[in-house]
């Protein structure tokens, strides 16, 4: 089929305005939030219904083009970049709340629904949707499903995979099917579980059944300032070791605090190395008890100063520093690149030491603000050169050192951002050939022709950053 005929066919499916084919219109879709790679799609289609998605998939397949689903384009691993061109399915028109079952605490939403909008709609009912990635004001539920997104409050409530009970999916041949349903734990293989985090390589999600949680009666937030990062990391383990699982347990390092001070006047001490931001939710009688116990533990663990938020406004102020941290780092360098790795919690002091060492070795500044309770780090190098500069090799060296250290400590090369194309060459650092072969067998079942988001997740031999250097020394998995 020639291009003009395909465009006409797609226009007949979704309507003329919703097929983008002029180069200028396509530019927006050539990259996501991984700033170092871009590639223009051949066409962009904005479907409005499941049937349209199915018809578009069939048309694209008949034309021999790959299909890349895209939400808000906030992914940090390049998962939405159409490296081979083809058709980008932009799901941003499918934003409906299809069903809100208050009694069963379940909502059925379309994939283009923005994460924060869902929670805003639920507020009046005293409910919320738990996963709250940093991108939540822009990122879509469908994109969250593709990447198994997390967020600060996932410590207590789990990541996307723990909060999705069913999915409607268009398979690679255009077939529409439901995986899971409205009840927890549908029998048979957990296809919902394996679809979550598959980065658009198994199918196109067209409806999502999410679990909703009831807002707790009371929330209390505490900020503990530490002179030393390693002491702050030890305090994280002490809190959780005492049997307390806060709803959120975050760390900001000194560099981040100073950057936030400059942009927000947040009033963080200029000379501290770390701040612990801890939030607990629950019944009104129990929350003060918990926050008191946490305060005692933090003091015993050497906190210099502790501040608790008594009002909703004070709470939001404490969080503002954390939520806007990434933006504030823009002050530090022309470029920033947020990494995403995860280690078992007890390894936090060691991994932080190794992150700082790596920064010194490669002479790149690194800021850190992260989900400490989960052991999920976001080291963020900041620098003043472009990714085309020879100096960029230092950033890659740093990134690889950090990932290698995480794998050696029993962790993972991505906690919540996904592999995409950014990390595909490193998958073998975590999994051996047999593990990857088993994953490929599952991919084959869903997409035998490799038409859905091709060249993502698995090593291709072509890195966005040039070939990976060396192997992880040891792989102390499980």
């Amino acid at each position: 089929m020639d291009r003009a005929a395909l465009i006409r066919r797609l226009q007949a499916i979704v309507g003329e305005p919703y097929v983008l084919h002029r180069p200028d219109d396509l530019t927006v879709y050539e990259q996501d939030a991984l700033m170092v790679a871009r590639h223009k799609p051949d066409l962009v289609v904005l479907p409005d219904t499941t049937q349209q998605v199915s018809d578009v998939v069939k048309a694209a397949r008949e034309a021999g083009l790959p299909i890349v689903a895209r939400g808000a384009g906030t992914g940090l691993a390049g998962g939405a970049i159409p490296e081979r061109g083809g058709v980008v399915l932009a799901m941003t028109r499918m934003t409906r709340l299809l069903d809100l079952d208050l009694a069963s605490r379940i909502a059925v939403v379309e994939p283009g629904m923005v994460n924060a909008e869902l929670t805003a709609m639920l507020a009046a009912h005293g409910l919320f949707y738990a996963p709250d990635p940093g991108s939540q004001v822009a990122s879509t539920i469908g994109g969250n499903v593709a990447n198994n997104s997390g967020g600060p409050h996932c410590l207590a409530y789990g990541v996307t995979g723990n909060n999705v009970v069913g999915l409607e999916v268009v398979l690679a041949d255009g077939t529409v099917t439901w995986l899971g349903g409205r009840a927890m734990d549908a029998p048979g293989y957990d296809l919902t579980g394996i679809m979550v985090g598959s980065e658009g390589t198994f199918g196109i999600v067209t409806k999502v059944v999410v679990r909703l949680l009831a807002r707790r009666e009371a929330v209390r937030t505490l900020l503990a300032i530490y002179d030393r990062m390693d002491v702050a990391c030890e305090a994280v383990s002490a809190v959780i070791g005492a049997g307390i699982v806060p709803e959120a347990l975050e760390i900001l390092d000194g560099i981040t605090m100073r950057a936030v001070n400059q942009t927000l006047h947040a009033g963080f001490p200029e000379d501290a190395e770390a701040a612990l931001l801890i939030e607990v939710e629950g019944l009104s009688e129990s929350v003060p008890v918990l926050i008191e116990r946490i305060e005692v533990i933090c003091r015993a663990q050497g906190a210099r100063r502790i501040q608790t938020a008594a009002t909703a406004e004070e709470r939001l102020n404490l969080w503002k520093g954390r939520k806007q941290a990434y933006g504030a780092l823009g002050k530090l360098g022309r470029r920033t690149m947020m990494l995403d790795v995860c280690v078992p919690r007890s390894r936090l002091p060691e991994i932080m030491r190794r992150v700082l060492e790596a920064g010194r070795r490669w002479n790149v500044g690194v800021a850190n603000f992260f989900h400490a309770g989960d052991g999920n780090l976001h080291p963020t190098p900041f620098f003043d050169f472009d990714d085309t500069s020879p100096e960029y090799a230092r950033v890659i060296g740093l990134t690889e050192d950090i990932m290698r250290a995480c794998v050696e400590l029993g962790g993972t090369i991505t906690g919540e951002h996904g592999i995409g194309l950014e990390k595909r060459e490193y998958l073998g650092w975590m999994f051996n050939d047999a593990d990857i072969a088993a994953m490929k067998q599952v991919k084959q079942v869903f997409d035998p022709a490799d038409a859905l988001n091709p060249d993502k997740v698995f090593p291709t031999g072509r890195s966005v950053h040039g070939a990976p250097r060396g192997k992880a020394l040891a792989v102390p998995r499980a």
């Binding site: 605490r105 996932c154 439901w178 029998p187 048979g188 957990d190 993972t412 051996n432 599952v442 079942v445």
Partner: protein, 472 residues
């Protein structure tokens, strides 16, 4: 009996055992291979009313490497393999429908690593949940998933088991961080790891949790632990009607009161439990509750809130127990309820059902089911992890009276279809085995084809626990 084709009609017939395979396995395992009738009989069914299907031989590996050797040998000889844990499954998962080799993992019972600071543990598949919790004494931590029987962690992962605390701490789905699995051709893979979250590669852990031994043999599992609560109390409250009890549960859950356990026992079940465990509770629909909290005060607050909700729903007797011994007695009685029900009718077998509906439909589903059951002559007890919308009926039937078996099947089928029509599922926690394959077909459409293709991709010769879960 061994040549009997299962009633669901899935077995292509019995497989022919190769003597060479037995010789190979004997060379590998010595007397840890058994072909004795008693051992084979023990590995033929689990705790189920379904007919027994003994394997041709049972092997007792002691390491993952031995499991690999066994699987490779069986694979070479195209011989079916059935992983076996504690044999407590209720849906015939361990029955060797086509004969072959039962791989009994109970000797792989080492606890390989405990990391109190990370709150996780890696165990061999044959470790039971009670063994693990005993081992964790003194660490301030516990493993939360507690099916009534003392199942193995491997078996619980394979069936995605649940238990009374799932309402607060989740099921095996939430608890398993990573698995070591021997695939059908002997390849060894590891899924996941120790990181609390990972977006790295496909989440094969989720695929193997709940795969019921049909995709591979789980030999090790890394599971998460929870901190023991500072304060615990338990309560029982009886109601005039089942509706009153169920509505209390629904409101409790909807208000977000973090109950650790909330279980419903109907009047028949309470009568059985009273007799068996000498509990002395009223013979009426009753909720068993447990509250975990950071302090006595927070636990007392939860109790007060539930008490208030119960009062609005016609509660009769509300007792609470903070004393650990009294609590233990209550929960032991709850966990023994299966045997208590069996004791109501000596000689009878129990057919256990396992549906789960969205919690908003729970009262309706239970009411309609009870109405349907009222006309039956069978003794039927109801028990449920109602906080999740999951409940079980236990039908007591005389296994030698076909009319009774048929009656139970009929009632069960109607209940499953009722649950499906309400957006529910045919099995909340016991799994599919081969007892429920027909319902799986009713529940999933095209997705069942995907499941079948995954099975064929990972087990092309259909050797891993054949005849279960999906028809190939």
């Amino acid at each position: 009996m061994a040549d009997q084709i299962p009633t669901t009609g899935t077995s292509p017939g019995r497989f022919r055992l190769d003597d060479l395979l037995i010789a190979e396995l004997r060379a590998l395992l010595g007397d840890r291979l058994s072909t004795s009738a008693a051992v084979r009989e023990h590995h033929s069914r689990g705790e189920t009313y379904l007919p027994p299907y003994p394997p041709d031989a049972v092997v007792f590996p002691e390491s993952t490497d031995e499991v690999r050797e066994i699987v490779r040998a069986c694979s070479r000889h195209r011989t079916p393999m059935v992983p076996f844990g504690a044999g407590t499954s209720l849906e015939g998962h361990v029955a060797a429908l086509q004969g072959g080799i039962s791989i009994d993992l109970s000797r792989m019972s080492r606890i390989l690593r405990v990391s109190p600071e990370d709150m996780d543990v890696t165990v061999e598949a044959g470790v039971t949940h009670r063994q693990l919790n005993k081992h964790l004494r003194g660490t301030g931590l516990f493993f939360s998933v507690d099916p009534g029987a003392d199942a193995t962690i491997g078996g619980m992962a394979a069936t995605r088991a649940s238990g009374t605390t799932a309402v607060r701490y989740g099921t095996m789905r939430e608890s398993v961080l990573g698995l070591t699995v021997v695939l059908a051709d002997g390849r060894l893979i590891r899924t996941g790891g120790r990181a609390r979250k990972s977006a790295s590669g496909y989440d094969l852990t989720r695929l193997f949790v709940g795969s019921e031994g049909t995709l591979g043999v789980i030999t090790e599992a890394t599971v998460r632990l929870h901190g023991l609560p500072e304060a615990v109390s338990a309560a029982t409250c009886s109601f005039a009607t089942v509706e009153g009890a169920v509505n209390t549960v629904i409101t409790t859950i909807q208000l977000g009161i973090p109950v650790a356990r909330i279980e419903l026992l109907d009047d028949v079940q309470m009568d059985a439990v009273n007799r068996y465990s000498n509990l002395g509770c009223p013979v009426a629909p009753t909720l068993f509750l447990e509250f975990h909290g950071a302090s006595e005060r927070s636990v007392a607050e939860q109790v007060e809130m539930v008490k208030e909700i119960a009062a609005g729903n016609g509660v009769g007797d509300f007792r609470w127990a903070t004393d650990p011994e009294e609590r233990a007695r209550l929960w032991k009685a709850r966990h023994d309820s299966y045997f208590a029900t069996l004791a109501l009718r000596p000689g009878a077998v129990a057919i256990t059902t396992d549906v789960c509906v969205p919690i908003a439909r729970l009262a309706e589903c239970i009411a309609e089911t009870k109405k349907d059951n009222a006309a039956s002559s069978l003794t039927i007890a109801l028990i449920g992890h109602v906080g999740d919308g999951n409940f079980h009926l236990i039908y007591l039937v005389d296994p030698n009276t076909p009319a009774e078996m048929e009656e139970a099947e009929r009632l069960n089928e109607r209940m499953v279809m009722r649950a499906l029509a309400m957006g529910g599922t045919c099995t909340g926690e016991h799994g599919v085995g081969y007892g429920k394959m027909k319902f799986l077909e009713a529940e999933h459409g095209e997705a069942l084809n995907v499941m079948r293709q995954i099975k064929q991709a990972l087990d092309p010769h259909n050797l891993m626990n054949p005849g279960k879960m999906v028809r190939v």
